[in-house]
Amino acid sequence: MTQSTVHPGVSGYEEGRRAVSAAAGKVLAGHPPAATPVRQFLGACFDAGLAWVHFPVGRGGLGVDAGLQDFADGILQGAGGVNPFQLNPIAYGMAGPTVVAHATEDMKTRLLRPMYTCEHVWCQLFSEPGAGSDLAGLATRAVSGGADWVVNGQKIWTSLGHVARWALLLARTDPDVEKHQGLTYFVLDMRSPGVEVRPLRQMTGEAEFNEIFLTGVRIPDTQRLGEVGEGWRVAMTTLMNERNAIGAGSSVRNSGLIRVPLRLWAQRPDLRTPVLQDRLVALFARADAARLTGDRQRVERGGGPIGPEGSAAKLVLSELGQAIFDFCMDFLGPEATCYSGYDARHEPEDLGGGVKLWTSAAGDEDVQRMFLRSRAYTIEGGTSDILRNIVGERVLGLPGDLRADRDKPWAEVPRG
């Protein structure tokens, strides 16, 4: 896997640390964040190999230990640099790692830099009305038509689909084999003819995800990632990185979602009660333990790729996040019943040059909105049920469940 790619010039962790430190120093000296347009600053980071430090030199990386990304981000963001994950989460967290591992060299050149500089926002066309948890059961068809593929089908719950320029697409190329065997992976230019995006309103009132109709969409074969029929394997790179991106907590105490109730508690002495205090301290302990487990697992991996334990981290942080907002609502008491945000348009903050802060349209202050949004934590990126299956089967080695679709061609599996 790409995560442990080591550039021949840089061997040990310490050497890598020095390389990162030197590169970051140079970027900050030449492009001080306060005085540099965002896109230009991000371009400088990419060129210096600080975008994804474990990627090869020339591809946005330095070929060093992936564990050093935190170190790099600490220096850059500490000096006022933007957090690329908030600007282009799917590109930064999922598309980059998938493209660098599976795309042609030419496509890497075309895609990586603009996704990092946020010139191209990315989205993920995986889920379908008939295939969510059972992603490998998806029905969108891609049929080979010479140098191009022709795609027909419907995707759903596509975050950022309404603004994305590029998409990660998983489609079925062979319905007559077992479901995992018949998938192929593509990157799709969202401006291609036949791509139609319809926003979906969600329970917060906003439309952050969409349904996407694909009708006779042509995709050049050069935009295929991995072999025909190998799409599931490529998708695993994406999904692992998705869970790790969501599950990778910060190693700084109280910098995760627990900051929200701690701040509320400090601001509102009038609402404090002993019972609520006990609950808050119990949440603090859970949050801090989860933070320490993240730190420990990072050290134990020694920079190697994250395994299925990344799914456990996503499981823990998503359920903790919900408990945190449940607490916030209980803390607010009667005030919690008020909300005027359903019709508000949460315009993402524009950082200049069209670079927008897609992931934090509302501030920490908007507790009711975050509470409502938190119901998605345990659905998006794999539901908690699915993650517990993964922990049970892939981390602990328990036997799989009985399956009605085992060894059957996809076309013969019941759906609904």
Partner: protein, 371 residues
């Protein structure tokens, strides 16, 4: 030499293997005096955090934590938390004293067993309020009062007492057989964990520390013991996760292993999450104490709290997943469960550690109230 948090050295790995082998193979337990001596001499497990000047190995609390974790895994019983955690740490903070210089080497080599009396008759620990009173008696001291729930208070040859002399906190050493000291063992929910009720009627004592530094030394002992207890809980939880996992893979019902049922699988996934957090929090406390990576009081109480919850849940789940056999006297699950539950009430109990955590987490915003 500073070490990176969570990164075990080769020596530490070797120590873990050595003590784990000993705990699983040795007959009897650490309450057998010859076995206790072997822990001190053959394994050098008691003086790991004690300076070489007193016969210790000059390593750190991290190494003591390895011993505690493996004790938990093997459900090994020994007066280890009391001796190496509470008493030796506290005495180590008074190491300029002549008596302490004599005692430490005998604690390191397992000649003596020791404990500390910090709790009041209800088992509460409040460092601002020593449970015992000290008064001058010629050139010696005499102690009065009671201290309950004293870990290994019955077996201890040496009791390190927290007492105040005219409102000044002090540390006093009382011999287990001193006149004026009455001890009665408290039968335990966990039969492998020994506690005693100690009554002092002018018990003969030697002062080894006084004032602010005495309180600091007592607090250090409490922090180390809490971190060791948390490591033990992590070991307890790991053992029951492993046992339950094996069972879930082999026990067949409805023609398939019970671990393939989601309800069972998900319970095991939650056990795994608990085990991981107990390990992280307890190791962090050990590193905070040994390497100063965090405030030791906060880290120790965090570890205590997290691992107490985790170990109780994991051991209770172990009984549940085993079904009827899990409820029998023969099956080890109940012994682990009892240790986890009992451990979660030692050293001041969950409420005291929650109080310390509250102070650390909320600072000036914490509600004022009884500690």
């Amino acid at each position: 030499m500073a070490s990176i948090e969570f990164e075990w050295s080769d020596e530490q790995r070797a120590l873990r293997e050595l003590v784990a082998g000993f705990f699983t193979r040795s007959p009897g337990d650490g309450y057998d005096r010859p076995v206790w001596r072997r822990l001190g001499t053959d394994l050098s497990a008691l003086g790991l955090a004690t300076s070489e000047a007193f016969g210790g190995s000059g390593a750190s609390a991290i190494e003591l934590g390895i011993v505690a974790e493996e004790m938990g895994r093997a459900l090994y019983s020994a007066p280890f938390l009391a001796t190496a955690g509470l008493a030796m740490t506290t005495l180590g903070g008074c190491a300029l004293d002549q008596l302490v210089k004599e005692l430490l080497p005998q604690l390191v080599d397992g000649t003596l067993v020791a404990t500390a009396a910090l709790s009041d008759v209800a088992g509460h620990i409040d460092l601002t309020r020593p449970p015992l009173a000290a008064r001058r008696n010629g050139d010696r001291w005499a102690l009065d009062g009671s201290s309950s729930f004293v870990l290994d208070g019955g077996a201890a040859d040496v009791v390190v007492c927290y007492a105040s002399a005219r409102d000044i906190p002090g540390i006093f050493v009382v011999r287990g057989d001193a006149t004026g000291l009455a001890r009665s063992e408290v039968p335990g929910l966990d039969p492998g964990r020994h506690q005693a009720h100690l009554t002092f009627h002018g018990a003969e004592a030697t002062e080894v520390g006084s004032g602010g530094s005495a309180r600091t030394a007592v607090e250090a002992g409490l922090n180390v013991a809490s971190a060791l207890l948390a490591a033990e809980q992590a070991g307890v939880a790991q053992a029951m996760l492993a046992t339950t996992l094996d069972y879930a893979k082999t026990r067949m019902q409805f023609g398939r292993p019970i671990g393939s049922f989601q309800a069972v699988k998900h319970r095991l996934a939650d056990m795994y999450v608990d085990v991981e957090d107990a390990r992280s929090a307890s190791y962090h406390a050990l590193w905070a104490i040994a390497e100063g990576t965090d405030d030791p009081a906060l880290a120790a109480s965090l570890a205590y709290t997290v691992s107490a919850e985790a170990a109780r849940r994991v051991t209770a789940s172990a009984i549940q997943v085993h079904g009827g056999i899990g409820f029998t006297w023969e099956h080890p699950a109940h012994r682990y469960f009892k240790r986890a539950v009992s451990n979660g009430a030692l050293l001041g109990g969950k409420a005291m550690h929650a109080q310390r955590l509250t102070a650390a987490a909320l600072g000036e915003h914490a509600l004022a109230g009884p500690a």
